[in-house]
Symmetry: C2
Subunit: 201 residues, 2 copies
Amino acid sequence: MPFGRPRVERADAARNRRHLLETAREMIAEHGTEKVTMDALAERAGLGKGTVFRRFGTRAGIFAALIDDDERRFQHAVLSGPPPLGPGAEPVQRLIAYGRARIAFLLDHLALARAAMDRNRTLPAAGATLSQLHIRMLLGQARPDIGDELDGLTLQLTAALEGPLLYVPAMDAVELPVSGDALPLAESWQVLVEGLARPGR
Amino acid sequence: MPFGRPRVERADAARNRRHLLETAREMIAEHGTEKVTMDALAERAGLGKGTVFRRFGTRAGIFAALIDDDERRFQHAVLSGPPPLGPGAEPVQRLIAYGRARIAFLLDHLALARAAMDRNRTLPAAGATLSQLHIRMLLGQARPDIGDELDGLTLQLTAALEGPLLYVPAMDAVELPVSGDALPLAESWQVLVEGLARPGR
DNA sequence: AGCGTAAGCGGACCGTACCCCGCTTATATT
DNA sequence: AATATAAGCGGGGTACGGTCCGCTTACGCT
């Protein structure tokens, strides 16, 4: 085999991966994320434990892989969907829309997203990194004068957006009113962003 | 024993707790937090494994207990120290000062604070809750008109303050310039808070 | 079709967090 | 000082995440 070839995933491996994800979804639906252990998943899928680990690297990786499907769709809406979420609107409007969409997305995937964290990967997988890049870009456009503080603010905004749902257990109180657009966190996100958008001093 | 009595900690228990914390500190100083296992700590302290668990409940609890010592001093400075950190200054100034102090505190305790997190207790112990209460109070004073969004903003500000250091591994890049007052995160925190302080629309 | 090779697989193995429960001991009461 | 009792203690047990390595199998090449 000449070097540099993409080395596609072998057919049996792909089949096993799909089967494992399918099985994991079933187990989550029946007993919640807590009960999805490496051993149990492997046994129920009729595969070896080593296989599970090879596919997902870590327990958290299982949940990250489950989210990734939906995450791709979400990213697509952000990168090339209609404004204000997609490109075309003012940066501030896009930031606000992004926050609202991201909060809704996280709410839809709360159990998975929380289970997808572990000691090392504290932020769930690719999604958070994308959030960070997107926020950084929009904030830089909205406030080109911001300079040195762009990196710090990016981190803090990302944490402000993803943190309350992922890290604070007490969130379950505030998250309840999921009725339509009236997510309380989305409203306060808008206040936060609008405050930043107006040049200071 | 009549009910309602405070049930003070037994003398031997208190001695063991101090001894365990002391031993843990030694082990951390020598080999870092990773090497502090329940077994190793128990053996080195000359106590049973069950004792360690009974005292701290969980591995993360050990580190939380270690932080709590310093945390108490920090809280004292916030609650009754000199302004602007302590009472007496304007709410916005106190918020900014609080953020700066908290960031410095977390930087001083980074290894401990990160080790004090686990799947269930995602936020390290009491400190974060205190942060939340304090931020809520000051924000409410700074913007009495804010109403419904107070709770959401409180959560998001707390996450913005503690999140970048605790959850984002890539932080280590930004945290480096620890020279004096010029913490980049502290600067951007100030921008964030000042944006919020000005009434919107 | 047959072959060589690297990817994939399985499951035994290890270290560690956390649980449990019978024994010990400090402390209050008399 | 003796006693009762609840808190504390010890350390073996269990379950789970993660690793390792020899065997198997899919796939590309001839």
